[in-house]
Symmetry: C2
Subunit: 211 residues, 2 copies
């Protein structure tokens, strides 16, 4: 198993494009979310320590710290998703000749699918946080960086939507109605808040560009 | 100037987050577009060479080749954008003590801003192509990979929208009404077709997941 966060960008893109089982859509979503963090952090970094923005310094510093934390988590999820998906393909490859083997395979596959579903769910949770930070930054950070805050929320929203597809496909194979309804409720809320932040921030970006 | 395509994913994210002028929103958009390519290519790579999909082999192979080309271009644009933006900050740093210096600075800045505007425009053109390939793949490629085709179009659409913000902000500073109206016409068309592909493909993804 590769450690993709330390791999070259080109190598990551190549492995994602290949017929290797991982990295796939979940890992790519985590990376897109991390890219969103970076753009928010850049806007914050061009705000803190500047006299002109002294009045918002504390708030923006706190936002920066939260974004750094989300980026760290999303960076871990780039590789966690690849590992979780590999566990699914490994379970699928287990023998199924006897009833006992079939039962073991079924259980292992169920566990692996649940793991593979929880990783993109965790990606969505982090992307929703990033989207929320982008709203703070659009209101408070250095307006010279407003398009970068826009890119932050675009990436967070896209990563959240992309991760959701990976939650959905694993729920489909998992076939556990109780888990399904609980997770669906959470993903709907996460997408709703992220989409709302996306709309608000891009409105603010347009207003700033038109000014 | 770094060669970001060969940098580690973590290092890229770190530099993007920092108060270095580059990589910024344009470079991040190019990377997001390249991630979209990779997801489309993965779906194509799990289709070509498989008996079950022999009837679509040629079409999917051709799509794969086009996506590889777009990924190559978008990969180059990750670094081109960083270079183009650095040229803007260099022009801004030129002396402006005499009238002659002011005139030289103005011209250099104009050239640099035009360059910085053309790079994200080029990113948008490539993302629009990727979105179009995702429509072909959603219809023809191995349906087991349908969520990856979904991630492909989500990334292409987000990258196109993010790159557009970077076109817009450079147009704002460029202040050239003729260039502006011409470029705005093109960006509107590129976003329109990408958004349409996004809608079509995600509808297909939902239908497949619900089946």
């Amino acid at each position: 198993m590769e450690n993709y966060i330390e791999a070259a960008v080109r190598a990551y893109l190549q492995d994602a494009a290949s017929d290797k089982p991982a990295p796939g859509g979940g890992s790519v979503s985590a990376l897109a979310g991390a890219l969103g963090c970076s753009m928010g952090e850049m806007a914050a970094n061009f705000t803190v320590g500047k006299k002109k923005f002294a009045s918002v310094q504390k708030e923006v510093e706190a936002s920066l710290a939260r974004l750094e934390e989300s980026r760290e988590k999303l960076s871990e999820l780039i590789d966690e998703d690849a590992r979780a998906y590999t566990a699914v393909t490994e379970a699928q490859a287990l023998p199924k000749n006897t009833e006992e083997e079939k039962e073991i395979r079924k259980q292992k596959l169920k566990e692996a699918l649940k793991g593979a579903m929880l990783v993109p769910l965790n990606i969505m949770r982090n992307c929703s946080k990033v989207a929320s930070e982008s709203e703070l930054l659009a209101a408070k950070a250095n307006p010279y960086l407003i398009t970068d805050v826009g890119v932050c929320v675009i990436m967070a929203e896209a990563a959240c939507a992309a991760a959701r597809l990976n939650v959905e496909v694993n729920l489909k194979y998992l076939k556990d109605p109780q888990v399904e309804s609980q997770v669906r409720e959470e993903t709907a809320k996460l997408c709703e808040s992220t989409t709302a932040a996306h709309e608000n921030v891009l409105k603010k970006v347009s207003e700033t560009l038109d000014a």
